[in-house]
Symmetry: C2
Subunit: 113 residues, 2 copies
């Protein structure tokens, strides 16, 4: 048997999209989801506890999937990067969160028994 039998694979959690499930990206998406006016590169770095390199790498991955938007500008003659969540990113992230809630429900049901 292949390991992809979704009918019986109750705990495969196929809705947990790996693009959001990775911990750093989960942080970035939560930060951008909750800050609809966007966040600067430095704010994101601090809020998510990431290094420059790590944040850059994950921003690129999310951008390539059209989940976030990156705006480059100049502030006080210095280059500034600002990130925003896209509508697609928002919709897909809400779906991911719904799946995460289902995972928790499985466990909570057992805890209450």
């Amino acid at each position: 048997m292949k390991g992809d039998n979704t009918n019986t694979a109750k705990y495969a959690f196929s809705g947990l999209d790996r693009i959001f499930h990775e911990k750093a990206r989960l942080g970035i998406m939560t930060a951008l989801f909750t800050n609809e006016k966007g966040l600067s590169f430095n704010d994101l770095k601090e809020l998510c506890g990431l290094t420059d390199g790590n944040l850059s790498r994950h921003i690129q991955i999310l951008k390539d999937e059209n989940l976030i938007l990156v705006e480059k500008s100049f502030e006080n003659n210095r280059p500034a990067t600002r990130c925003f969540i896209t509508d697609t990113g928002r919709d897909k992230f809400v779906n991911y969160m719904n799946e995460l809630e289902n995972v928790i429900k499985n466990v909570n049901k057992k805890l209450k028994n």
Copy 2:
């Protein structure tokens, strides 16, 4: 600045232990958490939608951390493997789940605004 400033790193989600956050292991732990009489290797494989190799690898990782217990025996003259969650595994998994609930709360709060 190093990326490890936890005071301001609101979205670093440091409580999301990588041992549980990996999707396959999240499935295995949820399955074992909700089946306190343990599960056979084959049941786990089916429930989590994993291949033999993948399941073996993740079982070893969880076992090395004393989060699950692996019992080898013979059934009808064939070797049989059965896995159980340990008390440590149960406690740590509940902590992980609590952190996961906090992540969701951040997003839900925003959704209701």
